[in-house]
């Protein structure tokens, strides 16, 4: 037991001292230094949506890019690195980082809904038509379209695109299981929707799993899951036996460190930061970004 405590103590001391060392700042924002470009891994829905919107669909990553394998590590890096720029679903952004205006437009729900904020994308579910002939799946499907669901969507920072005022009608004695998997961008919202649905319909159990948009397509196509989640425009070639429903819209926010002095960035500059083949117009340092 003593040894155990000694061990914990040692660990604590090491962690604390390192933590103290790292948290006390070190690097500061310096616009003459290279931008630390943060992106997501190939195949990430957020990445493909982002790259498509800024006009770099199917292009290779810019040299020196930091590839974060999930949304949380994008935030961690941008939070800690004064020179970083990254992007992430609006629904994920915390107060630890700063959102940049894009072409002068702030990333707000209003602006996404009215289309003035450029970097936004649909959050869809894909499913086989036969799926919603099942009573339980059908009930959940209609719940997603109800005003109850829209309230949850809006409350969590996403953009509701369904203006319905009809609320969900409870079906007494409904029991069954629903399996949903796919995009991690839609995952947190879907979990909230599922939890709510389970509490309304006591007999229903919903499993929501991640895996990415690719998994969403595959699992829906192969019938592994009842619904697949994708965070991009539905591409029928990826799941030819399926159709889709737009659950909500998600804005992709461009984020920088809080010490960064910029408040706004143009879509053009953003493209030149992320573009490997930008040539002379490539942006390497913050000083190159137009103010």
């Amino acid at each position: 037991m003593k040894k155990f405590f000694a061990l914990i103590l040692t660990f604590a001391i090491i962690t604390c001292s390192l933590g103290a060392l790292t948290s006390c700042g070190g690097a500061r924002f310096d616009e003459n230094k290279n931008i630390s470009v943060v992106t997501r891994e190939d195949g990430s829905g957020t990445k493909s949506a982002f790259m498509e919107i800024i006009g770099l669909k199917g292009k290779t990553d810019v040299s020196g890019v930091i590839v974060a394998s999930n949304t949380a590590s994008v935030l961690v890096e941008v939070k800690g690195n004064p020179l970083a720029i990254g992007y992430d679903s609006l629904g994920y952004i915390t107060n630890d980082v700063k959102m940049l205006k894009v072409d002068g437009v702030e990333a707000t729900i209003e602006n996404i809904k009215n289309g003035s904020y450029k970097i936004s994308r649909p959050l869809n579910i894909v499913y086989q038509e036969s799926t919603i002939t099942d009573e339980v799946n059908k009930a959940f499907y209609s719940f997603l379209q109800s005003s109850d669901a829209q309230a949850i969507i809006t409350d969590n920072g996403y953009v509701s695109t369904n203006d319905t005022t009809t609320s969900y009608t409870v079906i007494p004695g409904l029991t069954g299981e629903i399996d949903i998997s796919g995009s991690t961008s839609l995952l947190p919202l879907m979990e909230k929707l599922a939890t709510r649905f389970e509490s309304i319909q006591g007999g229903v159990k919903i499993t929501v799993a991640g895996g990415g948009s690719g998994t969403g397509y595959n699992n829906a196509k192969n019938g592994v899951s009842d619904f697949g989640m994708i965070s991009e425009d539905f591409n029928p070639s990826k799941a030819d036996n399926c159709t889709y429903y737009e659950v909500a819209k998600d804005g992709i926010a461009v984020i920088v460190n809080k010490e960064n002095t910029f408040d706004s960035i143009s879509l053009e500059d953003l493209k030149n930061i992320y573009n490997k083949d930008a040539g002379d117009s490539a942006i390497k340092t913050w000083a190159d970004v137009s103010k």
């Binding site: 790292t22 190939d42 195949g43 292009k59 930091i66 394998s69 961690v76």
Partner: protein
């Protein structure tokens, strides 16, 4: 009952065979299609680009860099630790320290990754890296260096302990200091065992995935500095495996083939070293 035993024995062989066949059957045709040289020595990795290209050479190089640096760090610290435990630390501390090091071996690699991501990467970024990037070869090597410590320490200590203490006494009796006796007689005598430990550590280092992904940065570029975001073979597979489809997925499996061949070479050299060691022991025994 005998059938059950036999089946169990065959099961693991079957598993190995299945994995090998799976890797080669899905990987080799892809390599052939892309061109072996283009796949192995190509420098562009862009599986989802409009014109996809599948060159893994930068990742092979990055893997070698990360492994080499981590082994230098791990062996440096690990060997000195095992020597300290062998003769230079108070006896009552030996057991607790050994147990702590063994505990280190039991920590899941994702925890190491987390530690690397939240402590080592920011530390490297703010205090060491000239480019302001913390992710990369140095961070990954530091994390891996810590991860392979237990292997190095326990194997080195065991091989030091298996060297007859009469060598140690003999060296001291000739006027050597403790340090001289240890470094000039004991360590060279335990050489083959220590080397086997190093090979094991290299294996762990090359194969480690989770912790590496979290600190390596992940850009599939040719490494030019240890402060640059790069991607190892394992990271390449893990980053794309859940998302990629079609040819891109086959490219990952082909990456797996390369990794498999790497580890195979390591395992063979480990067995050779072990064989060498046991032969030497026999010789030593016979001369008594």
């Amino acid at each position: 009952m005998r059938g059950l035993f036999l089946f169990s024995a065959i099961f693991s062989i079957l598993a190995l065979a299945t994995i090998t066949i799976f890797l080669f059957v899905s990987g080799i045709p892809f390599m052939a299609k892309t061109g072996f040289a283009k796949f192995l020595f190509g420098s562009d990795w862009a599986p989802v680009a409009d014109n996809p290209s599948y060159g893994i050479f930068p990742m092979i190089v990055a893997t070698l860099y990360v492994t080499a640096l981590s082994v230098i760090i791990g062996v440096g610290i690990g060997l000195l630790t095992s020597i300290a435990l062998y003769k230079f630390c108070p006896k009552r501390l030996i057991s607790p320290i050994r147990q702590m090091i063994n505990l280190l071996a039991g920590i899941p690699s994702v925890i190491f990754g987390l530690f690397g991501m939240t402590i080592i990467v920011p530390f490297v970024r703010d205090y060491i890296s000239p480019t302001g990037v913390g992710y990369g070869i140095l961070s990954a090597s530091l994390v891996l260096g810590i991860m392979i410590l237990p292997t190095i320490v326990s194997v080195s200590l065991d091989s030091l302990n298996s060297v007859p203490s009469s060598y140690y006494e003999g060296a001291l009796a000739l006027g050597a200091t403790k340090e001289q006796a240890t470094f000039k007689v004991m360590v060279p005598s335990a050489k083959s065992g220590i080397l086997a430990g190093v090979v094991l550590a290299i294996g762990r280092s090359i194969g480690e995935t989770m912790a590496v992904i979290m600190v390596i940065g992940g850009s599939p570029e040719m490494p030019e500095s240890i402060f640059q975001s790069v991607r190892t073979l394992t990271a390449n597979i893990a980053m794309g495996a859940l998302e990629l489809q079609g040819d891109a997925l086959s490219a990952l499996i082909a990456t797996g083939v390369v990794l498999f061949v790497f580890t195979l070479i390591l395992n063979v050299s480990f067995s050779l070293l072990k064989k060498d060691k046991s032969e030497k022991k026999e010789k030593r025994g016979a001369s008594k």
